[in-house]
Structure formats: structure tokens, C-alpha cells
């Protein structure tokens, strides 16, 4: 069964999964600076799904058994202290051991980073517009930022297979997750589930990772977050902000907007603020492209 062998390789990769190459320089700069402000630390971690996931893992494993899942980075920094979070970020921000410059990857990690950030920001803006409790809005951001995290191990631990998967999606005009299932017997939602388990993420974030392509059949407790991430994902793909490998994205049906009690037209108004947030992140990371 290729699926089980692929899952094994994914699991192996996830243990030492490095942060994204797009953010690594800034992470090292911020975390090696003894005078780093808490807000810079917050900013740099929230720009990287891997760092964000691992910091959430730490805070939640530390508080394991106490009931509530902490999804806010600001809270993690206050509870664990800036040094702990800085050191954790430093230990994650290593150069990818698989990053052989000559090797070809299906998904460019810069484009992936931009897509992830766009979905996080969009999910958060939709939640705000819907009047979600400000305390819960951060969870929407984290869920959006992390929704495609399963693609990182697929892209890096199964590089050749993933290139072939993309070619299949392209040839047959398939949404990427369906092509993954066919070619790898493992889609990025399942790979993401492995990541979420490894990071001990539960609740809305884990469900958004696992169900953002199958939200219509989702019956769990976090429908609002899962559906918001699905809509934000569609928006990012439609606008072509970043690229996460999905050339033929699935489109959420009109009932999704109804369930979220939102207008589809809100998305048009989000273009400017989302672009502004991404621009801000680019300036912070000193990206020139």
C-alpha cells in the first residue's frame, strides 16, 4: 500500500520539520537579538505556519489536561516567557536539511508561504466582519495560516512523487487534494492530520487542517472556523495571492455563505486589507519580490 509507506515518510519528516525558508532569516535575526521586543517575536512567529504550530504545541502540551486550548501567541509569550518562545523558534528555524538547491520541488515555498498567510489574514478578517468574539479571532488566523501545513512534508519528503502528483492534477484538471489521493493514496489533509497530531493541535485548528476540502460533510464542533478557512482558501486561490499548488480549486457552494451568515460580496472588500497585511509582512521580512 503506497499510502502507508508515504505516511511513514511524512511522519519521519515532521519530527524535525524546519521553518519556511522565506522566514528563516528574519526569525534568526529577531531571535538572536537580545533586545527583541515581544511584538517583533509575535510578528515573526505568526508569519510561519511551522513556527506557529510548534509554539502552539509547546504552550498546549505545557498546559495539557487543563481543558482550554491556547491559540493566541501573545498569551503564549506571556505565559512561557519571551526567552522560552525565542529559543523554541531558534531551534525550529534551521535550514531545511532536504533543501538541496538543485532539486526540483513541486511547490515553491515562497508562494506557499504567501498563500498560507493570505488564508490566515482572510479568515481573520471574515471572522471580524462576522462579529466573532475578539478572543476567538486569533484562532481563525491560526487555522488559516496552518490549513495547508500537510503540503510541507508532501513537498519535501516525497519530492519526486509530489511533482508527479501536480502533473496529474494539471493533466486531468483536478483539485490538488484529489490528485494527491489518487497518486499518493494520501492527501495533504491527511498529511496535515499527522502534523497536527505530532504538534498535539486539536480543536478548530486541527479540524481546519483536516476538513477544509471536505467542509460540506463536516459535522464537528468547529464548523464556523472550518468553513471560514474554506472560503478564505477559495479567495486566496481566486485572487492568485501566493500559490499552494492548486490550479483547479474546489469552489465552496452558496450554502456555505449562508451557514456563515455572510455575503459572498464581502470578499471583494477584503482585497485591499488582505493585500495591505501581506505587504506589511513582506516589508517586515525584507522580501524584495
Amino acid at each position: 500500500m503506497p499510502g502507508s509507506e508515504n505516511i511513514r515518510r511524512v511522519r519521519e519528516y515532521v519530527v524535525g520539520m524546519p521553518s519556511l525558508p522565506t522566514t528563516v532569516t528574519k526569525v534568526l535575526e529577531v531571535c538572536n537579538n537580545p533586545k527583541t521586543s515581544p511584538i517583533d517575536l509575535d510578528n515573526v512567529i505568526r508569519l510561519d505556519p511551522v513556527l506557529m504550530g510548534r509554539v502552539l504545541k509547546l504552550i498546549n502540551s505545557a498546559y495539557y489536561g487543563l481543558g482550554t486550548q491556547v491559540t493566541s501567541l501573545a498569551r503564549a509569550i506571556i505565559m512561557l516567557g519571551i526567552n522560552t518562545v525565542k529559543n523554541l523558534a531558534l531551534s525550529t528555524a534551521v535550514v531545511d536539511r532536504f533543501s538541496d538547491k538543485g532539486a526540483f520541488r513541486a511547490i515553491n515555498m515562497d508562494g506557499f508561504w504567501r498563500h498560507s498567510l493570505c488564508v490566515g489574514v482572510t479568515a481573520k478578517l471574515i471572522a471580524r466582519r462576522r462579529g466573532v468574539d475578539p478572543k476567538a479571532v486569533e484562532e481563525y488566523f491560526a487555522a488559516g495560516l496552518l490549513h495547508d501545513v500537510g503540503k510541507i512534508p508532501l513537498n519535501n519528503a516525497l519530492p519526486d512523487e509530489y511533482v508527479r502528483t501536480m502533473a496529474l492534477a494539471d493533466r486531468e484538471r483536478l483539485p490538488l487534494f484529489l490528485a494527491e489521493k489518487r497518486a499518493l493514496d494520501l492527501d495533504h489533509c491527511e498529511a496535515g492530520r499527522v502534523v497536527a497530531e505530532s504538534w498535539k493541535l486539536g480543536g478548530a485548528i486541527a479540524d481546519a487542517i483536516a476538513f477544509h476540502h471536505t467542509h460540506e460533510s463536516y459535522r464537528g464542533d468547529h464548523g464556523d472556523v472550518v468553513r471560514t478557512v474554506a472560503v478564505a482558501n477559495y479567495f486566496a486561490n481566486r485572487e492568485g495571492i501566493g500559490f499552494s499548488g492548486n490550479l483547479f480549486p474546489d469552489k465552496p457552494g452558496p450554502e456555505v455563505y449562508g451557514l456563515l451568515d455572510m455575503e459572498k460580496s464581502w470578499l471583494e472588500e477584503l482585497e485591499a486589507p488582505v493585500a495591505a497585511e501581506i505587504e506589511k509582512a513582506k516589508v517586515f521580512l525584507k522580501l524584495t519580490h
Binding site: 511584538i39 509547546l58 502540551s61 505565559m79 531551534s91
Partner: protein, 305 residues
């Protein structure tokens, strides 16, 4: 009987010399006895003399069997371990519990690093004692014989636990090294680093954690609290260093109905004369206003809960 003996109360670094005779110069080590059970909190330099006492007295009754709870792994809290004689004695059983900062590190490696040839002539592998290490988090543990311990994260630049031991309806609580939780994010919208979400979340997190701390102290028969600084020193230059002021500890103990407060983790630069003066100052300040009894922790002194 439920008692506490102080073997080390000095912060940061041992401070031997004529100026630290009265309150002591050894770093953190507490001996807690719950009838026959022995619990040690921290393995600072004070643990050497506790070890010597155990070898003189307890060993006659049988091998040493103890739980050591480490508040955190900063050096002044673990440095005495290589000189804790029972670790060289076959038959000794130690269970060492404590927090670690990352999951990649292990408590035995952090402790064991001190027992390696580059620092010490004996390696951890060569010790006579049977030692088990356990990484702990916020939790409650039943230590048997009616003794329980509850742990709470404190606010220090490394993961650090406070311990609340309970036995026969009495409680001994440790809260060091720590300072009150605070919002580290700017709250002034004019600040260039201002972020409304972080500011709000930070306020709320700090408030909630401080409330949890107060609940942790509530009704303690003995509270051993970090008081490295005066409020004036703290505000002037020590915010974020992970230590509390006398004022904070006294207020918190009073508000939570603590019976006896031991002012602990004395600044290494504080002489006996200064500590005495501060002790009288704070005792006078609360006289007649609270049922709380307070005093500077003194090395060698035993308190009954």
C-alpha cells in the same frame, strides 16, 4: 508532623563571608518532612549540608529515599547536587522532578551535565544511588502517605514551577523564582509597536495568570516567596528579571490569607544588616493590619506548618 527546614535561601550565587552569617549564603534548598516522608525542593548549594545531615542521622534508619522537586534548572538551583553525599551511597533512591524548557532536552541530561568529567571527577553513570528523573508540568501528584503536591507555572525567564505541598490539612507553598505576570505588549496606541489584539490578549493573560497565582497561595500555612528586591529596586531596573519585590509578596500573602510568609531568595549583595533592617521594616509596616506573620528565611531554621 509537617515541617520545613531551610538549607539555602540565597539567590543567584552562594555568598559566603562575614556579612551573610545570620541569614545564610547557600543557594536554594528546602527540606520538607511529612511524618516519615522526605521531600527536598531544589538542589542549590544548601543541599550539601542537608546531605551531610542525612548521612549522620537518617541513614541509621535505612537507605535514603526522597523526592527532589526542582523549581527550575537555573544553576543556583541545581549546583549543589554533585556534593549531595547520598548520591554516592548504594541503596539511595531519589526521584527528581522538575520542569524543562524544551521537549528535546531531558532533566537527567541537564542535571547529569554537572556530573561529567569536564566539571566533576565523577560521572553520573558511576553514582551509587538509583535516580529516576521525571519532567513535570502543571499538575497534581499524589506522593503517597497522604502527601500531595500541586504545581503552578511561575513567571521567570525559564520554565519554573511553584509547589504546593499538602499534608493532613496543612500546606507549604513555594513561589520562587518569580515576578508578577505582566503584559509585555505596548498598550499605548501611539507606540509604533502597538497592536490592539496583542495588547488586549496580553492584558487578559497577565491578569488571569496573576489570579491563578493568588489561588495557588490561598490559605497556605507557610508560603516561601521570592523577594529578591524592594519595590523601588524592582521598578527602577529589575522588571523582567523574574524576581518579586517584598511589597508584592507581602500584599499577595495578606490578600490570600497566608499564615506565615518566608521572604526568600535573598539578593546576593544584601548583607545580614540590610536584611535585618528590611525584615523589621516590613514587619512594622503590617503590624496590626493583618494576621499574617512574616520573616526573612534563615538558613538552618525549621518551621512547623
Amino acid at each position: 508532623m509537617f515541617s520545613l527546614t531551610i538549607w539555602g535561601d540565597r539567590g543567584s550565587m552562594p555568598t559566603p563571608g562575614p556579612d551573610t552569617v545570620l541569614f545564610g549564603g547557600n543557594t536554594s534548598c528546602l527540606e520538607i518532612r511529612a511524618n516519615g516522608r522526605l521531600v527536598i525542593v531544589d538542589a542549590g548549594s544548601g543541599i550539601r549540608q542537608l546531605g551531610d545531615k542525612l548521612m549522620r542521622e537518617d541513614i541509621k534508619k535505612g537507605p535514603i529515599d526522597a523526592d527532589i522537586f526542582v523549581t527550575h534548572t537555573h544553576w543556583d538551583h541545581i549546583m549543589g547536587f554533585p556534593m549531595f553525599t547520598p548520591i554516592y551511597v548504594p541503596g539511595t533512591k531519589l526521584r527528581i522532578h522538575g520542569p524543562i524548557t524544551y521537549e528535546e532536552d531531558t532533566l537527567d541530561k541537564i542535571f547529569g551535565a554537572q556530573l561529567s568529567y569536564r566539571y566533576w571527577p565523577v560521572r553520573q553513570e558511576e553514582l551509587g544511588a538509583k535516580i529516576e528523573y521525571e519532567q513535570i508540568k502543571e499538575t497534581t501528584m499524589d506522593l503517597g502517605g497522604g502527601l500531595t503536591v500541586q504545581t503552578k507555572y511561575l513567571n521567570h525567564p525559564i520554565l519554573c514551577l511553584g509547589y504546593r505541598f499538602e499534608f493532613e490539612g496543612k500546606s507549604i507553598v513555594t513561589a520562587y523564582d518569580t515576578e508578577p505576570f505582566r503584559n509585555v505588549f505596548p498598550t499605548d496606541p501611539a507606540d509604533p509597536q502597538y497592536d490592539a489584539d496583542a495588547a488586549r490578549e496580553g492584558e487578559e493573560a497577565a491578569r488571569e495568570e496573576n489570579e491563578k497565582l493568588l489561588r495557588f497561595y490561598r490559605g497556605a500555612d507557610i508560603l516561601v516567596h521570592d523577594t529578591q528586591y524592594t519595590a523601588k529596586e524592582y521598578v527602577a531596573s529589575k522588571v523582567g528579571w523574574g524576581h518579586s519585590s517584598f511589597e508584592y509578596a507581602v500584599n499577595a500573602a495578606h490578600r490570600t490569607g497566608v499564615k506565615r510568609l518566608l521572604l526568600f531568595h535573598h539578593d546576593p549583595n544584601r548583607s545580614d544588616a540590610e536584611l535585618q533592617e528590611l525584615e523589621i521594616f516590613y514587619q512594622e509596616r503590617v503590624r496590626g493590619k493583618t494576621a499574617l506573620e512574616l520573616e526573612m528565611a534563615r538558613e538552618g531554621r525549621t518551621y512547623i506548618a
